[in-house]
Symmetry: C2
Subunit: 320 residues, 2 copies
């Protein structure tokens, strides 16, 4: 496996593999920002729909990747996690020199697959925190990433040139960049994205066990608390099961809180500790402020560590 | 303690004790419906605010209750649970013949207090399922109960004349009536109103434990799942702790689901059982339909049991 070729431009052409909601929106947004871009989808119908909307799309993966190799494009893997390995096989064969990013919702597992292909020096992962409840090219939007948070993989040995390309792509799509290390990304996403699904499913089941009388009395707290239980079970399982280790940590913390609360409710008729802590925590969420990360040059001393630290403290990048 | 006097009218005057959000909205709605009504509040400022809005309100509990006794009014206890006992003391002294209802969010504990005063033959509890996140006369609304569900205590030995008065008051306020037995009411409310608060607090704490990075990546699932953690801790504690026994049952069911899910995630990397069950449960919530209870005459054979059964199956009363 060769090292990535030196890339002078931070705005290379973009080659998007997978034109579903996220990949399709990304191609639209990148092209609107003035970037050259083209895409691949395995389905004839999807590629045709993208072409009808005026985009360069094909079902010929070999040709799409050959062009990426010839034009030093940034490849964006926008397929579901189970299809990542086969996609990496194709990239290794047809576009071995290209820098690679992705938009999959877990980061450590993708890095592991990339590393198994010997491609980690060329890889900088990404995760745009944008809607995923519907799917397909047709539901995509050029504005999907506007003001969204886009996590960019900032592990200690990341390539600063490719990092800059990936961050610039996120910014070009209208997002703000939060730098984070992959394992840390997965840990926090377990807390704020995957645990909410398990609690919502639990509440739905426990409420429904009260029968029609319970469901008929249910008002806002139940409705909001179970909203995401309406999501596709396949999607929820893929997210939660794909982030098992981190989700177990978050779930164990939640179980410890609920178990302690059960004990104090039983013994002292009090839920004060949990309620006071929860109210304070929600207050911090409501009152959080974000600040702009400036002055950390990719490639400078300790730059990845300094960006990680800044991301951990709520910093965001709005321009390079 | 005397038995309730015979009441021919289903629309007696209404005497509201406590003019906060619920009591104040109830007085407004009853008067708009053409009912005679007056209220008491211990605070000068609240009584004055109600008078300024054109309502008959006083801080003289003895006079307010004396008038209720003289006019055979239906007394509505609209004070917080901790003030219920003292309110019952005053009713026993100054309005011993009046029928009584309440709007407190738990029903078994109020019935217990009423029974300890020897007043249960005159008491038919109520619980309008309407907003409680703000408080005070000024935030009340004549429309607060429009199309809301109003649970009316339909225990086996309830007085059918007083039951009819209470149900008519709920209907006059624009609500639909769901008949339920007090212990069963508390059981289902634990599932759909109190458990959601404990899960929201738990999610808020677990998310916040991920620090600013976690809170900064949090999107819709966390925001909705923690919304009610923003409620007043005092209010949340009062609700949850006031319904301890029923909440312990619901909490134990939730803990069992989460514990089993933790085990299957760890051992089999699967959350399928919970996610499939939760999705189906939320589907039943979304698709529930309500039907109108008709033809069960209060006072007829087994009427309370038949109404309980109908309420349990999703029935609602829209007129008497």
């Amino acid at each position: 496996m060769s090292n990535p070729r030196s890339v002078a431009s931070t705005t290379p052409p973009v080659c998007v593999l997978g034109l579903g909601l996220i990949g399709g929106s990304l191609l639209r947004a990148a092209v609107r920002a003035g970037r050259k871009g083209w895409g691949y989808n395995r389905s004839d119908a999807t590629a045709a729909a993208a072409r009808e909307d005026g985009f360069d799309a094909s079902t010929d993966l070999r040709a799409v990747l050959g062009r990426a190799e010839a034009e030093s494009a940034l490849i964006v893997i926008a397929v579901p996690m189970p299809a990542v390995d086969a996609t990496l096989d194709a990239i290794a064969e047809y576009a071995p020199s290209c820098p690679i990013t992705d938009v999959v919702s877990v980061k450590a597992a993708v890095l592991e697959a990339v590393s198994a292909h010997g491609m980690s020096p060329k890889y900088v992962g990404g995760h745009p925190m944008a809607g995923t409840s519907a799917s397909g090219w047709t539901v995509g939007s050029v504005n999907l990433f506007r003001e969204a948070v886009w996590v960019v993989d900032t592990r200690h040995d990341v390539d600063p040139h490719i990092w800059r390309q990936v961050a610039q792509l996120a910014l070009d799509c209208g997002a703000v960049v939060v730098p984070a290390e992959p394992v840390e990304h997965d840990s926090v996403v377990a807390r704020i994205s995957h645990l909410p699904h398990l609690l919502a499913e639990t509440l739905a089941v426990t409420g429904d066990a009260g029968g029609p009388l319970a469901l008929g009395l249910a008002a806002g707290s139940f409705r909001d608390g179970t909203r995401v239980a309406g999501s596709s079970p396949t999607l929820v399982r893929a997210m939660c099961e794909g982030n098992r280790d981190a989700l177990l940590v978050a779930l164990d913390e939640a179980l410890a809180l609920l178990t302690a609360t059960r004990a104090s409710l039983d013994a002292e008729a009090s839920v004060a500790d949990l309620v006071d802590a929860g109210h304070a925590a929600r207050g911090r969420y409501d009152e959080q402020t974000h600040w702009e990360i400036v002055g950390i040059e990719p490639g400078s001393d300790d730059w990845a560590k300094r960006l990680q630290d800044a991301g951990r403290r709520g910093g965001r990048i709005r321009r390079l």
